[in-house]
Subunit: 244 residues, 2 copies
């Protein structure tokens, strides 16, 4: 919706006209599609109409049974162009028998806190759905790899293809290696199997066989103060919820 | 000192033998060198003997007058191989008339919290001194760029050359562009002038002309909870100390 030449005000009006609550016909139709195909479906993000008339940029996860298994309201709207109200929480979703997915939208990836928080909540793969129409897709390719490396998770960053988007979707493994990448903005299908057990393997054996950042601390070590967050890295709680 | 084939215990003994307090002869000699040359000198890190016999991996900054202008004890030792006691705080140093430098050692760069905290403390350039002897230098090149991008700072990551180190030092601008890079482990001199005013320019005008992550929030917006840190991103305090 952005970088498309529309003045910001017209865009907001257009979005308001298209907004629906998550129990509206758009999500219902997408859920029916997931059910028909028998797949887990994350069809990008939708324009959600909130309980009080707010507009949210909301990523949804639909189950093979056609159930809305989870939703995430983008915490970092792309300002000033994106008129959405920010979400207030990060979301992971368990795909039964498969693993835990962290939800993440576009500009969120520019804030390393988002994927750090998701990894800590147990995400083994983060699905970053993107509509980047601008030259900064170059930076996003670096960030996809870095976010994978520091958190030892898979990162799937799916960007809109041309002519509107810059394409260059990328799938990264927990050591930062590129599994698949669209070279340009041409419409492309990237299909791959992710072995989520690799996450635990890398964390246990180390990135490049050496670095185990989630196993950094020894019992009783003091917390590391992080005034930027009014918080800290606390050795007592420094591990993803599903890694020990 | 690491990845050099020494068993860990011998290494600790060797380090203990070489450790000195920061007012010892090693730092004194380096300070004399800075004074003789009339330069700001950051000669990697030294093995510091602490007040209670602890060993710290400590980066030092020496002024053109031969003064110890600042020191930083590595917060994230490279475990299990590195026997140092972790530091307990992050450090920036003002170079009179030049700008503010954030100090950072090697494995610190694998924790995005370190450079985030330094940028928030006003660092315009982060000096990451490295002795990486292992294959994970590949990941560190990605992280140097990502740490620059998300914080909109210069990152200078200076790695030890061969035969011990993997070389590949890199200097990155606040948009993640590579200013200079050693292609391999051969000893190399990288010399460049950094225009630190670019930091403010990029933050004001946006990375790639669009992204202004330090200007994300509007007055009165709620904080974003980050349970991973027992903290939050607070719009009231979300800006580097020297950027407004």
């Amino acid at each position: 919706m952005f970088g498309d030449g529309f003045p910001d005000r017209q865009r907001e009006e257009a979005l308001r006209g298209a907004a629906e609550p998550l129990d509206g016909p758009r999500v219902e139709a997408l859920a029916a599609l997931a059910s028909e195909l028998g797949v887990w479906l994350v069809p990008g993000s939708v324009c959600e109409l909130g309980e009080h008339g707010e507009l949210f940029n909301t990523q949804i996860v639909l189950s093979p049974e056609g159930r809305l298994a989870g939703s995430y309201r983008k915490v970092f709207p792309w300002r000033p162009h994106e008129p959405y109200v920010p979400g207030d929480r990060f979301v992971v979703v368990d795909l039964d028998g498969i693993g835990r997915v962290g939800l993440n939208i576009c500009y969120d990836a520019w804030f390393p806190e988002t994927m750090r928080q998701l990894a800590w909540m147990g995400a083994e793969v983060v699905l970053n759905v993107v509509k980047t129409t601008t030259a900064d897709r170059a930076q996003e390719l670096v960030l996809a790899r870095a976010n994978a490396i520091v958190n030892q998770v898979f990162v799937v960053s799916v960007n809109c293809a041309g002519p509107t988007g810059m394409g260059q979707s990328i799938i990264v493994d927990p050591e930062g290696g590129v599994i698949a990448e669209a070279p340009d903005a041409e419409p492309t299908l990237l299909a791959t199997d992710l072995d989520l057990a690799v996450v635990d393997h890398v964390r246990t054996n180390g990135t490049a066989g050496v670095n185990r950042m989630w196993s950094q601390f020894r019992p009783g070590e003091p917390a590391i103060p992080l005034p930027v967050y009014g918080g800290r890295i606390d050795p007592e709680t420094w591990q993803p919820s599903n890694f020990s």
